[in-house]
Symmetry: D3
Subunit: 296 residues, 6 copies
């Protein structure tokens, strides 16, 4: 989006930051190049929109802080370093938009948002619940961030809403751990049948009064819309549905965002990176709506 | 569609003509190879269809006139040369189907249709309104054709219906110019919510009694369905919706057509070119319905 | 799906078998590499699923029998050899899941299922009716299997349900032959308008009490969802709709399956092969539901 | 090369004809789309060349006769039909340039050239000797044309020179059949070590006084230069070496040509088709040199 | 190469500047995205090298000035604006390295280098001589820059050396204009036969004592090495030969550089952009050798 | 190569084993899918060859042991597990051919070969010396295996020959560590100038009497020949040169092999995987020559 670059910004409304990391990927790696691709495609975006009364960047001050420097070899160090960097940014700016990278670093972003804003409500759009346990010695692999976040108390009770979940899970009972902890799961099939409205209704009910974090794994969209990702799952949402879900958060209190799991090596003419950029732009606009334009 | 080729046809119902030009492209060029790709993919199409009582080419005489010879370097000359060639064809044949090329030459096609048939109704399917002003010294760039057409009086008052509009515009007020001039705009989101029926209803109301021009920019479809285009915009229509919109024009009086903005370098296994070829075939069939089969 | 391999299995519930053949292809060949691609993508699948009470492979015994050895040069020999191999497998195991390969060998699979289970009901998901006559000296080309099957009496009267049919057919009256023989055809447009429910209702009515064969040509999905196929047709179903149709067969009595026409050379990041693998996994699960879990 | 098209040419120096056929392919099919791709890329070629004193098309009359209509399903019929069409063209024109399609139809072209010009010398550039026996019931598969040609007496004794041969053969003794019949084989390694000169020396010695047929399988080039082919073999010639070999035939008496095995589905940015088009253009120029310009 | 960015640098040894322009392209456009791709791939490069005694950036001060702002629609304006920007940079810094973009803007870079350093010697590596006349109303299209440069007196008499020239030219006598003006042309075939040494010998003879400009069109390499370009020509140099030619200029007095015609839409895994980045890095190192390390 | 599969082979001449791991990759990951791709492409290979007197598999007994089970998340565990598995195999079979995966696991293979055969001579074909120190907390990243091997005493003094080295290194003095320890380095430029003979001469001198390990990183070939790799470097060897180098080891005493760094996500029509498969087949044949055919 042609934002100015500042490596150590202070006092901004939103700081965009890249997390070029895929050390937590279970299947097709390559998301480390996600931030580069999303930034490249974002030059098409202006921060305006059909029937939007304001341009995003007329309402808020945003800046690009570049990428977090992360070890590709040491997962524990990567999560710790990302946590440090994001917490530092969160102390000096209001909200962060992290461009992944794989989903594992969302844990770091949730920690940073929690430190600044307290227990969070979360809208999590994804094909996978990512509340699974560690495997293969990987404490923080990309199927774990919301498990750790729940265990670390970063999320307010009952305030995690997941939509788009589908497909194969490691075990038959993989979702039970989450449901027992009050996670509200809407499957992709339910979205096909009932539309996006019930998801947003559930979110508004559960997130009322809470600071809201929105995490979008691009694989929530069907592989036709997002082929460039590491663990694609057929039967996903359309791009329109994903964007409609994102558009529903501006009347709440969003305080943190991520768009993750863009894997350019498997992308097609940049459509996945462009969709991720559009989601990011929409998230910024929702932030702008919520803070500066009275939610209109 | 394996049509016969004739460089200077006379007396045909429809003349298909390629416009291998992308000098008006703002982002990813390459649409100059669109006609070649669309023709190549069209060999799969027979002019028949499920539950169609007639084959298109049993009802009408159609011919392929080859490509317009266009300067890749001089935009003003290209628009002028295209206008000359298309007007000449329109004088000696009933309707034209132009295969783009970028959208800028639709102005030439509208001029030709207007010269033969008078003030036009227009169905314009696109992600972008293309009623923007010139920039960068480009009087006729691909975001301008409908602005020029309105200014040149080629379109009857209130008779331009646009559907699929979405995404980022150059300025917040980019659509005001069009709306102030009576353009009826249906956004992509409205199509998701209400379906294609309201678009066709509005068109039938506004185009009644007028000669109808149909212009389809393939980027009206979501990038999943049409990755091979120059300025893709996430959140677009499905191929089925686009085809359903096109299928609704046969009970009006269609007199001119284009399918534009196929950019093969960004296409994927030819799916965009194939979709464009199918749209072209459907447009020919709608023409056949309207003229020869009593609209049935 | 990481199944064990056994070249001559006996006593299994389901035998998966590849048919690396594209000698019956009319347009883009390459489906001979379909089995390899589908198996490769299937490593992502576990036989579990969101809100499934059982894992597929806890309920049934399945095995991979490798590929049928087929001549790429002699169509008649290929169909005969496939028939022999599949009949042999069908005699010693309950159900087969054939991974194509082009659609022509479905005839062999229908013969094998018929020999074991008697006259079949068939759910056929495809863009094309495949009830066309031989052309170019190709008795068994990929547009013919259901014509031969009807002529050979493999399908019970009125028990063939086709969904997703669309696009161009060889002749205006191409579907009449099928309809005259009681084939129930649901077009892709009808699915868009009315959803998948009417297809399943028609199937349950016609297939009640009969052994059911399910044949899925991946081109039933729109080229956006399945670009890797030989004769793509714009305007197809979404992946979610295809999967929803497949999910409806477990309360019937499925006895044979195929997923065909994956052409990896035209695929994009494996999304077509992955969709085919998911369809195959779902078919196995439906079989498991129908036999071992009381259809629940 | 933007040649005029004539479906039934007579009296031309060279007729270009496409053979859209891949029914004889043993591994990756798709060469049926070779003629379309080669023609598309050939628009870059003008028939001129650095340091050529004449433009090809100032010296000779050439025409494009379109494609041979061939069954994709019946190999015997395809070879017979191609033989008929090519013999007919050879009776009414001096030389043919066939654009493949797989290598199997070279047999038909050799038959046609032999009928008009008598026993032939042949320069055969290929990774594979193509003197193998039929397999899988495929009498005329793409590994057999030179075996049949030798058996049918189309090639003068000792006058077949093969260069670029390498890689794996069906059996250890696969080349013995050819060598026993006087075929002169130069391996790809020998070309790397000694250059192209010895190949041309051997050819000039063996082809002196004979009509010369030149058959180029694009897989003679390394997969880096020709990825778009059906049976690629690493360790091949560079494009420069292939072109240098082709440039050496103008001082002999060339009477027939083919460039085969372009498989666009595996090509990369058209480089294989472009190389094939360049080879075709060079062959036409060598013909022109030999006939009209005194070999200069 | 991870250089610092400065939009208006002064006092640097070398300024890297992007020219995202392809308005002068005759065949496949898309070079406007060349600078972005070359910069992205350049992250692999460190400015060190096997058996180099110094790291480039220990010897010289280099900076990235971003891209020139250029109209995609108005060729005359683009050349004028590029000339202004480059002249301004050349006044305040020693040497420029322009990353194209198509070849037409090399004229602007030659003007800037000439203004600062006087009549130039030029090493021009390319498949095409680019001394052709304007066509289609395009005064400055990408086949013209060296014609204009010779006509404008930017190049010292006899001091233009071109290597890699090959393939089809617009007319038989296309190279005569250049040769009559003393241009030394080495064809690609001559490089294959005699190696790169004679090119460098000719250059050292003609460029002795003159400021040297080096212009590299990536299409000098064979399409196997540089598929991502607009007008590929088979039979080109290997990457090693191109790099060996570039490595020969450090003992002369290089003062300006460009690497042009990278067209990412036709590239393959970034190999063309990476080669261009490597050429750019080598050019910077040659500059460093010539100025700071005594040519060692 | 259609080898039989055995998970725990004993008494074989050569065991082929996959190492689906890329946790040590510094730039583009994805080599974890290398074994799958190399096996898929290897179906074209028969173990025969032009002018080979014997078929490989008539001379030796070879088997495919499947893949090593490796953590994608924990580098230390991966190297330890690979070492265990390979040592176990080496105890019960004569030689191993490891298909990578990234280069880091070559350390494990060298350990296994050393345990069975004692201090090794090594032919290492690569663009990079891989004798670099750990970075980013990655003790065993893919730039380190030969450093560790030298430090662990696995390689006999002076018996490591590296060829193809080129491009950018982390520091100016990166090769000094290796040279000080007697590593013989032949750069890619030296191969261009002097051919492959000097490399083999040096190897025969240094490896005489020693067990020989051959490690081939596919990036030793130029990106044109091997685009599908993680850290490509322009200016590399041709496929013919790489194969000629490999063909030179059969008169020595080869005891272990690997082909690594195939990254399918960046490959093009499988040419990199096919080249790797051909290298693997050639290595097996050289083993066969050395042991069973008297080196003939």
């Amino acid at each position: 989006m042609r934002l100015a670059h500042h490596p150590a910004p202070e006092g901004y409304d939103v700081v965009v930051i890249g997390a070029p990391y895929d050390g937590g990927t279970s299947y097709r790696p390559g998301a480390r190049f996600g931030p580069r691709a999303v930034r490249a495609e974002s030059v098409l975006l202006h921060g305006t929109g059909v029937d939007r009364p304001h341009a995003t960047f007329d309402l808020i001050r945003a800046v690009d802080a570049g990428d977090i420097d992360l070890s590709p070899y040491d997962m524990n160090a990567a999560v710790a370093d990302a946590t440090d960097r994001l917490r530092h940014l969160a102390r000096h700016n209001d909200a962060l938009l992290m461009i992944g990278g794989d989903h594992s670093l969302t844990l770091a972003a949730l920690r940073a948002a929690h430190e600044r804003h307290g227990p969070l409500a979360v809208l999590h759009l994804d094909a996978h619940s990512d509340t699974y346990p560690p495997v293969y010695g990987g404490t923080f692999h990309h199927g774990t961030p919301f498990r750790h976040a729940l265990e670390e108390g970063l999320i307010a009770p009952g305030a995690l809403v997941q939509a788009g979940i589908r497909g194969h899970t490691p075990r038959v009972d993989s979702l039970e751990w989450a449901r027992e902890r009050g996670v509200h799961i809407v499957t992709a099939d339910q979205v096909m049948e009932d539309g996006v409205r019930p998801v947003l209704d559930a979110l508004h009910e559960r997130a009322a009064g809470l600071p809201l974090y929105v995490s979008v794994d691009v694989d929530v969209a069907d592989p036709a819309f997002a082929p460039g990702t590491g663990t694609p799952a057929p039967g996903g949402l359309s791009a329109r549905e994903v964007l409609a879900l994102v558009r529903g958060v501006g009347t709440l209190r969003p305080v943190g965002f991520d768009v993750v799991e863009v894997c350019p090596a498997h992308d097609v003419s940049g459509i996945t990176a462009l969709l991720a950029a559009e989601i990011g732009a929409e998230l910024l606009h929702q932030y702008a709506r919520s803070r500066k334009a009275g939610g209109a």
